[in-house]
Symmetry: C5
């Protein structure tokens, strides 16, 4: 997984039927302080994350290993909302 | 998935038999405003997208998790046509 | 998949037994005009492609979704020989 | 797999239930001397690694091929703690 | 697969039990002349390759499609020792 920050939402009415009911969020990779560092991906949300939160998301086939994304055509899923990141013995991001 | 813009089409008469019947589109990654930012990939189309549209496409094994691409040798599939992207509380791309 | 140009061949006599009988080609990603843009990969050939041809190749587990590559240890397979690429309403590469 | 250095830890109380019980570590790719070279990922720990150690981690579906990560939604897992790296006939990193 | 050069070895005594018995080699991507061009990965060896040899290695789930790596947590495996690379009608690397 990687650290990411939820930065937006995507609405799509015409889509693969099996995507129905999934919340699709724009998530950009971020560093240990929650600062955005990467290009955003569109991830399914398995944990009820909101815009502005720092999360962990998994990519590839691992994104389908949850009850809500099983067998669905998603390649990125938010798996956790981050409480704290510790780096080099120091607390960096905290929620 | 990532945001992408459909920028072209690819015709190939000599191909793996199981690719038959799939529409193959050139799709380039784009930003929240629909501006192209990345190198194009060739994606199968599961939703009837057209050139110029902003879409979501999935990569890897997830690209095969649709009725039309199941067990077929594709590694990128267009899964949705985007209606709107909201970023930082502001509407960016709208169809 | 991505557009690629076949630029060479690789010979390997000592190899995983299940690679036996597969043609291994050097393929470099290319743009809509057939100009090489990327670092080459070594792909199995499922369609009888030749050096100089513009092709589509799939990567990852999708590379194994053909009769000739099923369960074999390849992560890139040429799936089609490209006849034409249309981009922005204009014909670019044609065979 | 790649060589990586464990540089931190991540705490997340709200998460996919099947992530429960896994230790999540921040791991950055490193060179043969253990010097950090890449952007960190968040990996599950299958071997009891600690901050500062040089490890091997696997990515993608391979990250799920251990008893502790089987069927869990992780895409990176620490598989070994490195004792020594030899490069060009010379000992580089040693634990 | 990609062309790679074996540049070193990795020793790890504390590891995932299912990695036992596999030789782990440092392999860096190389060009058609055998010159190193990329960052090294740690690959399992399925063919008895040695340091200095030019090889082909597969990544991702394809790395597990050999008798010796089946169901093991490796994401890169050396599948062949290269005898010759021909590029643009000219012999480049030969063993």
């Amino acid at each position: 997984m990687v650290l990411g920050k939820v930065i937006g939402t995507v609405v799509a009415s015409r889509k693969e039927p099996t995507l129905g009911g999934l919340t699709l969020l724009l998530v950009a990779a971020c560093d240990a302080n929650g600062e955005v560092t990467g290009t955003p991906v569109v991830a399914a949300d398995a944990v009820g994350a909101g815009v502005g939160e720092v999360v962990l998301y998994a990519s590839g086939s691992s994104a389908r290993q949850t009850e809500s994304t099983n067998n669905r055509p998603v390649d990125a899923t938010i798996m956790a909302i981050v409480d704290a990141v510790e780096l080099g013995g120091e607390q960096h991001y905290t929620k």
